[in-house]
């Protein structure tokens, strides 16, 4: 069994201020990501896809209650103490986010930040770490890496910063890379480059990738298999080409049909039915938090 990451009936709930039970953010999700594949999770707001990803590295806020099992390389992750989690983050499992600027210290040279990740997890001299950081920067496509080593993040463009973050993530050759909307904040031409980079790197290093996104196009270009989430539930899973061509779940069908890129110009796009709409999730959340709003029915 070469499942690098497995979720076993995982549910995540958050405590609410008024004590009322809240709908779980993740509701009974089970899936396995096999070694070497890129697995995409696609979903809209409130689907729980980011919550699921954050649960793997123990990045959820204290008010979160997680049940079920999450295993990385067969090892249970949920009960781990802080030290063990720290040892895992950046080492066996690495994560990159939508906003590269939030992951980088604005006052440190980027090269040092990559080197720091190296030295946090292995015995390596400062000079060796520096050399390896330069090599990583070159590998992710930063030209003139040696002289750009000492530049601070804001001297890089958005796409370049994301490359730096990828370099730091891959520094210790992780077996699993979790990418949460890694290109959503980037221009489409830069996005194309970064996606290509992620694909090339994972082929070269054999890294398994869990890619969280809302963009069907990204999934279709990059992912071997894809899972569709709505309202905390995993609705269906399958090989990308099959699932996108012949979706079985009504939500998936509606979501794919809503893509304007594939529709005929000037025609009305099909509407996702109310029971699968993002708005009804949001309205339920609002009514739970402010019961006084009841009386204004949903549109």
């Amino acid at each position: 069994m070469s499942a690098v990451l497995s979720f076993g009936n995982v549910s995540v709930g958050f405590a609410t201020p008024n004590g009322a039970p809240s709908a779980p953010a993740v509701n009974g999700v089970s899936l396995e990501v096999t070694r070497g594949e890129i697995f995409g999770i696609i979903g809209e707001s409130g689907s729980g896809k980011s919550t699921l990803a954050n649960a793997v590295m123990g990045l959820l806020p204290g008010s979160a209650a997680v049940t079920g099992s999450i295993r990385v390389n067969g090892r249970a992750v949920l009960g781990l103490g802080d030290d063990d989690l720290r040892g895992m983050r950046g080492n066996e499992v690495a994560m990159i986010f939508q906003d590269a600027s939030a992951s980088l210290d604005p006052t440190w040279p980027v090269g040092d930040q990559i080197a720091e990740t190296l030295r946090a997890h292995r015995e390596i001299s400062r000079r060796d770490a520096q050399a390896r950081a330069i090599a990583l920067m070159t590998e992710v496509g930063i030209a003139d890496a040696a002289s750009r080593y000492s530049d601070v993040p804001h001297r890089f463009s958005g796409g370049m910063r994301q490359r730096v973050v990828i370099a730091a993530a891959l520094a210790n050759d992780p077996q699993l890379l979790i990418a949460d909307e890694p290109t959503s904040a980037l221009d489409v031409t830069i996005q194309a480059q970064v996606l290509q980079l992620i694909d090339a790197l994972r082929r070269r290093h054999g890294t398994t990738v869990l890619l969280i996104t809302h963009d069907v196009g990204v999934v279709s270009q990059l992912c071997d298999r894809v899972g569709v989430m709505y309202g905390g539930k995993l609705l269906e899973v399958g090989a990308t080409r099959n699932l996108l061509a012949r979706p079985t779940h009504p939500y998936t069908r509606a979501l794919l049909a809503a893509n304007p890129a594939d529709a005929r110009r000037g025609t009305r796009l099909p509407v996702v039915p109310a029971e699968w709409s993002v708005e009804s999730l949001r309205e339920a959340e609002l009514l739970r938090d402010s019961p006084s709003l009841a009386g204004a029915a949903n549109e």
Binding site: F14, T16, P17, A25, S45, S47, T51, L60, Q98
Partner: protein, 288 residues
């Protein structure tokens, strides 16, 4: 991307209780209300006239008739504290209020219009910032003479650039929002936009700052009175009482301690209120 894409983590943000902020505000507000009432009703609740000298009761220790004792001239300390609070609160609150009434419009204009308007106003106000507070106050007093009114004016001037700067910053942030541009596109004049959109959304931080500065204003007034430059005798003032009490600290410590405590309580009240306000406004309320 919509912040809702961040999933439940973002949505719990709106639900976390702000209990500690309301606790601060209630305690601070209650304390201030009590102090204000006491100060306002001082003439009615003070047991004795604060300025009546009584040679027989010089430096008497606190007893049943005089709960806080008497000072070097036999005056009742409790009564003097009540009247002194009046002066301290009146000076600090009126000074900050006066300062706000100028700082808010100046900050609004600076932040909203920018460019030469901003440069002119900011540089002019910066000139005030150059001087240390005490020095500026003393200079005012040297020119205009000592007294409560001059002290209030000096404090108002000292805090004007600080409050204006805070207002300017939050105005800058609020003005960047699309609803401001939208209002202009929908026919609103600059004045209308400032009054109905910018000011209400930008006032939060400056209110917080004003309540914090009130605490400092109180100390400033006390300090100036301590030096003999603020409220002039025989009008009771907390700072003046501190100065008088210093000389007899060993023989009659109550003459120094009780006025000092009164200052501490008043400063705490303003600080609690300011802290509660700060927590209530931060982080989702104002800064977008």
């Amino acid at each position: 991307m919509s912040s809702e894409l961040n999933g439940s983590i973002a949505s719990t943000r709106g639900r976390l209780p702000r209990r500690s902020s309301s606790r601060f505000m209630i305690i601070g507000g209650a304390m201030l209300l009590a102090l204000a009432l006491i100060a306002a009703l001082a003439p009615f609740i003070a047991p004795y006239d604060p300025e009546t000298v009584d040679a027989r009761r010089v430096m008497n220790a606190p007893d049943f008739l005089h709960p806080f004792g008497s000072d070097v001239l036999g005056r009742d300390v409790l009564s003097r504290i009540l009247y002194g609070l009046r002066v301290s609160l009146a000076v600090s609150v009126s000074a900050v209020a006066a300062s706000l009434s100028l700082a808010v419009p100046l900050g609004l204009l600076s932040g909203y219009f920018g460019r030469w308007v901003d440069t002119t106003i900011s540089r002019s106000l910066d000139m005030i910032l150059v001087f240390p507070a005490m020095l500026l106050a003393v200079t005012f007093i040297a020119i205009l003479g000592p007294g409560s009114v001059v002290t209030a004016i000096a404090i108002a001037v000292i805090y004007l650039p600080i409050l204006a700067r805070v207002m300017r910053t939050s105005t800058l942030i609020v003005s960047r929002n699309d609803y401001v541009a939208g209002a202009r596109a929908r026919g609103a004049s600059h004045l209308r936009v400032l009054a109905s959109h910018v000011a209400p959304n930008a006032l939060g931080p400056v209110i917080v700052q004003a309540s914090v500065l009130s605490a400092f204003a109180l100390q400033l007034e006390a300090g100036l009175s301590f030096l003999g430059l603020g409220t002039q005798p025989p009008t009771p003032s907390l700072g003046g009482m501190l100065a008088d009490g210093r000389e007899v600290l060993v023989q009659a410590p109550w003459v120094e301690i009780f006025p000092g405590l009164a200052i501490v309580v008043a400063v705490l009240a303003f600080t609690f209120l300011g802290e509660g306000l700060r927590q209530a406004f931060d982080p989702r309320g104002v800064a977008e």
